[in-house]
Amino acid sequence: MGGKQKQTHDDVDEGGDDGSFSDSELSEELVSESELSEELVLDDSDSGLSEEYDGGNDDDSGEEDDSEEEDDNDSDEDDFDELVLHDEIHADEDDADNPHQDDDSDSSEDDDDTKRNTVGAVPVADWYRHEDHVGYDKHGEKVVKEGAGGGAGEPPTDAIDWFLKRVEGGKDARSFYDEYEGRTVNVTPGELDLLRRLREGRMPSRAINPHAPFDDWFSRETEIMPLSAAPEPKRRFVPSKHEAKKVLKLVRALRKGTLKTLAQKREEEAKAAEGGSEPYLLWGDDGDALLEDGRPYAEGLSARMKKLSHVAAPKQRRPGHGQSYNPPTEYLKEEQEEQGATGEDDALKEATEKDDDRMLAAPIPSMRQIPAYDKLVSERFERCLDLYLCPRVEKKRINIDPRSLLPALPKLSDLRPYPRLRHVTYQRGDTSRTAKASGARAAAVAVAVDPSGETVAVGFDDHVVAIFDVLTSVEVLRFSLPIPTEDDRDEAAVRHISWRPAVGTISDNSLPLGESRAAAAPVLAVAYGSRVLLVMPAVGPAAAEAAASVAAAASNANLAKSSKQRRQAGDTSAHGPLADTVSAVWVARHKTRAAAAAATEGSEASVASWGTYEHDRAAGAFCTGPYARLTGQGAVSISLPRANRANFVPCSSVAWHGKGDYFVSVNALHNRSGDSSAVVIHRLSSCESAKPFSKTFGGLKFVSFHPSKPQLFLGTMNHVRMYDLSRRALVKKFLSGTSASLSLRAGCPVHSSGDHFLCGAEDGTVSWFDTDLSTKPYKVLRLGLSRAASKNAAGAGAAISALAFHPRRPLFVACCDDATVHVYHGMVYADLMSNPTVIPLKTFRRVHTVPKTGEGVTATCFHPRQPWLFTAGADGDVHLFCD
């Protein structure tokens, strides 16, 4: 027992050594106690007592020692009271769990059962003085005085013996006679100690030390070596998630309304006290209800509330006695009540109807006599109707205005100015006469506005190029090209005309100033027959300026020779002397260079040959019109190479580079590839020509230079190719967006930004290509769909005949073969992020219609500055559309 206690003590010690100080406070205290052994003895009842008396230091003694000591103690006690000792041993065994129990109390407890006096508070000494007993125990047997019965432990009747016993010491020294119980009681040393401590006013138990020294384990001082060197844990600095969850729960509850603040509760109570609750829309969550300010009611509701609300049916009262088929008589309708109900008194009727408990007028004696429910059929029918008409499932329906899906278009008035009305018509002076004579007019096939915007050049299919004054609509100049006699005449028509872009001077430093200024004069390139004709309708300031400077710098022998030649040639018409000189300088310069080039290159006749244009006088005057006497008569002719003499190759298109020095000519060799001479690039300042491609594709439809870079766009039937001329490489090939071929019909010069161009197809679609974006079209516009054409499934519209970008404004135009002209707003942004904007603006119908053939617009172009659109048509007119 003591061993066990020690073991636990050891455990405790070890625990203390481990440093777990949480619950080992008491044991630590015990360990540190100086009276450790004594305390332990006290804990261990009588064994402790012997230890104390033996001065035993039994810390190291084992279990056996303890048991021996116990035996010793027992033997000591046997001397006086075997019975008690026996009982005590038993008690010890029984109360092993209770080490603080005293021996004495144990013995008295044993007496309680058998020998304890139960007479109560009576003067025992007086009453039982002469008896041998002192009273009765609970069994009614006498409690015999010690000594009376003469048993083993007879009381010392003799006072002297008693005194001597006590004086002798030993156990008897601490014994006294208990009159009430009639026996001698030994006082144990433990009890004696307790009594002594009580008398001294000390703590009765030795185990408790009220004045234990206070050990200040924890102090507010910051220790150098604290008890725990663990760093401050992270949780001290991190907000508690647990608390956050709790708070969130509360917040949600507050939002949901399940939890209410005190103020809300009071408010509701106040409202309830006022009477009635706030009115609310019962069906407000079905999506159609609107608030007063027009917002949907459901907008402010929570997601849960937005669902179709479940309106619980009102709770019905439980059937009472009145619903019984055989109610008690007090629930039956009485006779007079029934009469009152049938009578006039409505209030009474309502009152009786409300009273559910009084339903029947007469009880039904048995259950089998209950009639069928008379409203069953009608109620079932109405329920079916309800189910049929009232959907039980909320249908998610999205109401989207289809107009809101369309992109927001600006107002057309914001996009002004753009061509809206046809205002001016440019007609050849002889048109009406021709029309009367032959019944047909020459069709205008090409139109171009000069860079200054003052004149517009028009090419006709009867070998005439006319130049009109834009402002006055007067034909100021006409170049009549002779009809070639050899080859086929049809192919010799004017195909295309193009003005050289406005340039200050060509960067040709070898030229004297005057010549470079002359070179800056306006030049019109005419694709005519198998050659390109460069005419210089030099009217106005450029010509005058050039002429003045040329006259000043004129020391060129070629000039004199050439003008002499021209004079000798019988050119007696009233030439403006200055303009003629300019033209002569021009022609002479180009002629000499062309001759020089021919001399050096020798027999290489494959590249185009340059030369002056020798007009056939028999065919009439080359240049006529009001400006004729002010301008030159000469022209430079570039004969394009022919692959085959038998096969006439007309030049179909001419395009200038943006710097005005280079231009490219393309012949319209249909459906034949492999010819190297289809594309020829010419350089004006050096009178040279070159074939950039060793092999080209047949059926070239359009050609255009990049406005600033050395790039060339070639459009064939199926695709458009972009070449880098400096690297001599194909850069990109643009295809149609669909699997079908592009079926290119018309292209337009590349946009001034250089990154965009248009392609018009035979089926009436216009493809907008962004060269930076993709080889597929950025946008495809389906034009030319007349109403009849759009009805059939194929949907092929009239072919696109002409396309043009405005050089400065965000406008482009597409002309169809069905005599319609579509004007579009096409804004191109400088940043790479935003896509071009394309907005249809205006459609002109029945433009240039020719009654028999039905042909319409053949060519179009924009004014370089104004938002004016020029269209040339098969009826021989040129229209100007302006804002």
């Binding site: 001016v424 018509t425 007609q427 006055t472 300031p541 006259a551 200055l578 009001p626 002010l630 007119d877």
Partner: protein
């Protein structure tokens, strides 16, 4: 409450007029007139008031800038005026319709299609200075008392310019002509009191006083205007600039002396070959006194009137869609207004004797033309166009094509003539700009439709008032017609 037009109510009407003859004025007493009365009935009333019942005069009536064409009540109610107030009607004698009179006619060679035309300020019988596409100048008389083919080309300067003559302007003894090659020539003559116009151009040789050079280098000169005093010239070029030149006698003399010195000093370099027929090496050259820049595109309209006092009012109209008024003395912009379309002609009202505020008529790339009174709230350069356009009066579209020329009646009255590319000439009254008074056709279009493509008349490119009672129009095919514009 606007009563129904059919209900005949009486309107209190007060008649006023600006007629110069006091005999044509009626007392200002308001009269009650039935609202169904039309122009004829009103004319009868006025004639009765004037005691001219024996020879009644037809009148035109104007109210708030609208000419009365139908019943009086309808016009008044369409204007939103209450019929219960006293309405002030302005009346003026009618202009004789063109069917009454035959236009006089003159022919110039077809090769020299008229580009422009102006009145020579002589008290002769209808003389017109015409500039042509081939650079020649002609003086043409169009006698109004003769019928067809009565016109005579009095004199010709064949090589006045080396480029088409774009504009001519004449004032007293000075004429100015401009051409597409950027040259401006000042013509003149020492003018005895009895000299005729022949002495100006024909024998003796045409007197080229000076050439104005150096201001417009990037394009031709599109319009010229002479200052009211005749001592200055404004030119407008395709480069968007307006140049001012001093051409009074002292400046010309100084320039002539300088030219003579240079001729003596240096050998003749024959620098300018594009000179008139005579030896022009000694023609003095003037340089611009000031250059007014601000227009963003070619300036095609220029007008300089003596209204407003001081230097007069100098206006310009450009293809950039603005009209501007310039301070000719300081060489600065006074105010401007955005028109919304390219302006290709301008004309300003003259102040005849009276104090008339300056008023500009402009027209261009539309069939409509407009009136601008710069006194209205001045517009700063940063102001947006719509606010400025709101104070521009724009007429209806009577012309099917662009308006090429505009001309105010020179006596400062209310008539404006406009010539269009569709060959028609319209007479307008400033008091009622919604409908033209008359549309005049020198060369009748074959069909009455506005279809431009078929057989349109040649465009009318020159326009001038011959006095205040006739308008002459020069057509692109070289024909010149003069239409009498007389009132009853």
């Amino acid at each position: 409450m606007v009563p129904d037009n059919d209900v005949d109510v009486e309107v209190l009407v007060r008649f006023t007029t600006r007629h110069r003859d006091p005999a044509m004025h009626v007392p200002a007493t308001p009269l009650a007139v039935p609202s169904s009365t039309a122009r004829r009935g009103l004319s009868d009333v006025v004639n009765a008031l004037l005691n001219r019942t024996s020879v009644p005069t037809p009148f035109d009536f104007f109210i708030d800038g609208v000419r009365i064409t139908g019943p009086l009540g309808r016009t008044i109610s369409s204007l939103g005026i209450s019929l219960e107030t006293t309405v002030t009607l302005e009346y003026a004698p009618c202009i004789r319709p063109p069917s009454d009179v035959t236009p006089a006619h003159a022919n110039t060679p077809a090769s020299a299609a008229c580009y422009t035309g102006t009145l020579l300020a002589r008290k002769l019988n209808g003389e017109m200075l015409v500039g042509a596409f081939d650079g020649s100048l002609r003086v043409v008389t169009v006698p109004l008392d003769l019928t067809d083919a009565g016109g005579v080309v009095v004199s010709t300067v064949p090589d006045a310019h080396a480029a088409p003559v774009t504009d001519v302007c004449a004032l007293r003894d000075r004429c100015v002509s401009s051409a597409k090659d950027g040259t401006v020539v000042v013509w003149g003559a020492e003018m005895p009191a009895d000299v005729t116009v022949e002495s100006l151009f024909h024998p003796p040789a045409p007197l080229c006083l000076a050439r104005l050079e150096g201001a417009h280098t990037d394009g031709g000169v599109e319009a010229v205007a002479l200052a009211p005093g005749g001592d200055r010239v404004a030119t407008a070029g395709a480069d968007g600039r307006v140049a001012l030149w001093r051409v009074d006698d002292t400046a010309l003399e100084k320039a002539a002396r300088a030219a003579g010195d240079s001729k003596e000093a240096a050998a003749p370099t024959r620098k300018r070959k594009a000179a008139p027929s005579a030896d022009t090496a000694d023609v003095s050259t003037l340089s611009a006194a000031a250059t007014l820049s601000g227009h963003a595109a070619a300036v095609h309209g220029l007008a300089w009137s003596d209204a407003g006092g001081g230097n007069g009012a100098l206006f310009s109209g450009s293809w950039d869609g603005t009209v501007r008024q310039w301070d000719a003395g300081a060489g600065a912009l006074i105010t401007h207004a955005a028109v919304g379309y390219a302006v290709s002609t301008a004309s300003a009202r003259d102040a005849c004797d009276g104090e008339v505020p300056p008023l500009l008529a402009f027209g261009g790339a539309r069939g409509a033309w407009g009136i601008w009174d710069p006194r209205m709230a001045p517009v700063s350069l940063s102001a947006s166009a719509p606010s400025a356009a709101s104070r521009l009066k724009t007429t209806g579209t009577a012309h099917a094509s662009w308006v090429r020329r505009l001309a105010f009646q020179p006596n400062g009255e209310c008539l404006v003539a406009s010539a269009s590319l569709d060959g028609s000439v319209c007479i307008w009254d400033l008091r009622g700009l919604d409908v033209p008074l008359h549309t005049l056709h020198g060369i009748k279009p074959k069909s009455k439709t506005k279809n431009l493509t078929k057989d349109a008349a040649p465009p009318a490119l020159g326009l001038a008032w011959l006095g205040s009672e006739a308008v002459a129009a020069a057509y692109a095919n070289g024909e010149i017609y003069a239409f009498p514009v007389t009132s009853y």
